[in-house]
Amino acid sequence: MLYREAGDFKTSYAKDNQTFPIKFDRTGYWVILIAAAVVVPFMVNDYWASSLLVPFLIYAIAALGLNILVGYCGQVSLGTGGFMAVGAYSSYKLMTAFPWMDMFSVTILSGVITAIVGAAFGLPSLRIKGFYLAVATLAAQFFLVWLFNKVSWFYNYSASGQISAPERSVFGILVTGPNTAAWAQYLFCLIFVVVLAWVARNLTRGTVGRKWMAIRDMDIAAEIIGVNPLRAKLSAFAVSSFFIGIAGGLFFTVYLGAVEVGEVFGIQKSFLVLFMVIIGGLGSIFGSFAGAAFLVLLPVVLKVVGVDMLGMPTDIVAHLNLVIVGGLIIFFLIVEPHGLAQLWRLTKEKLRLWPFPH
């Protein structure tokens, strides 16, 4: 099957507007989705789930969220770690205060709470832009981490200051707690990823997405053609934080199980997710996945190659990881600011014409 759009005629605007205009892509999408939902759960073991798949899925949600804010709306944020912490602590409080509540509701409500907090911290974006806004969101990062350390109500006055997720099940299957099966963790996260990616795509292709991109590309012109900048920016902060809150909630409840806020949701988490978005591609749904996959995979691959195959010391490999990530960030910012997604797009454009040059 060739990668062609010729002959694939669109007869309605809805068809012209679909996510995958080329048949090959559509088929590929369904194949991957079915494989991820039906085949992978049977093959996944603890190592694969905990070191690759679950973190990839959760970071993909966080990267999607940050991409909406930074890539689509052009508002730089360094508060991702803080907002993930809001999601995690909301989940914890909801799970302990309402033990009967199911995990879907808990996670979605954590997202809603984070959305409200995110919109509040988005208020400065109406006055300040660029680096100055990044510094303002940095304040959110440090304030939120400090808050969750300082106010013991958030960790139910436990002596250690940690929060740990009680066991909860969905349809009789454990999804949180230490006894959870790897495939259950994976599937629970996968459901959120698929639905949220679909929501992100819907939002960014419609009216809201155009408002965000208009603000990103030229805010003054956007305002003159009728975009209310206050509502556009705050909605971007709210939606972005909703995604990041869900990612934070899942990171705590499903993935780690126990969290100490300063260690897990510190500034390095904000940078990690920002790097995913930059390397993956600003303003691209695919890019969020590519960036998350890349940065989750990189340390694992380096460890396998460096430690297991070449016999290098673990700390050297860990430092090498930092060096490579740093180098790649500079490389992408200079050479390809639209990241892996743009490389993928170029490949597809070439494929459409292949084997002819024009």
Binding site: Y13, D217, M218, A221, I224, V239
Partner: protein, 271 residues
Amino acid sequence: MLDTDTFTTPDGRTIGGTVMDLRNITLRFGGVEAIKDISFDIREGEIRAIIGPNGAGKSSMLNVISGFYVPQEGEVWYRGKPRPQMKPYEVAQQGIARTFQNIALFEGMSVLDNVMCGRLGHMNTNILSQAIWWGKAAKEETENRAVVERVIDFLEIQAIRKTPVGRLPYGLKKRVELARALAAQPSLLLLDEPMAGMNVEEKEDMSRFILDVNDEFGTTIALIEHDMGVVMDLSDRVVVMDYGRKIGDGTPDEVRNNQDVIDAYLGVAHD
């Protein structure tokens, strides 16, 4: 108080009553008076030109009309009512669309998305409906797409629909910007130098589009332009500005023979 007479132009178009009435507008930036006590009106269905040498305050005038600048003195009457102070996006929602002197397209988006942006004021499904892309959101998208496609056909930019705006040459960008403004189906269209930097052929195309827009949709147009030939051919009435003052107002013929206007353009020493 407002003039509501209608009359017919020599070429058979109907000009209606006053849509926009600017009364004694004064705009200052610090100590500089960009616009000094200017009054003029724009009638429904007419093409109204604002001309003047560089720095005369023409663009500032357009910015006052589109709500981007707030004049220190004077009133803007729109559709028979004094307009309260409002934000630019609220002005846009009242049916005033504009293009810019320096192209202000959204470079990261395709032509289609740019033109769809012109419809933003007409699309109002809530964010939840859009998130699931079901029912009203999807329906609204196709309905507005149909409007946009008519504009795209009208301006003959079908072939570049899906092209990112950043890749287009200057002349086409100007046309896309006009398309975005037209997609809003404005009752008043403001064009800030629609033909700046174009060659003769592109100017002819653009003039034809402007006349067609006025003719087919009955859109009221206010435009700023430096090319005198174009202005005199296109417009029904012309306002001439110089150093922030109005020095002439009337039909192209009246303006052409106005001594102040001739002085301003040929350059007479100011005393």
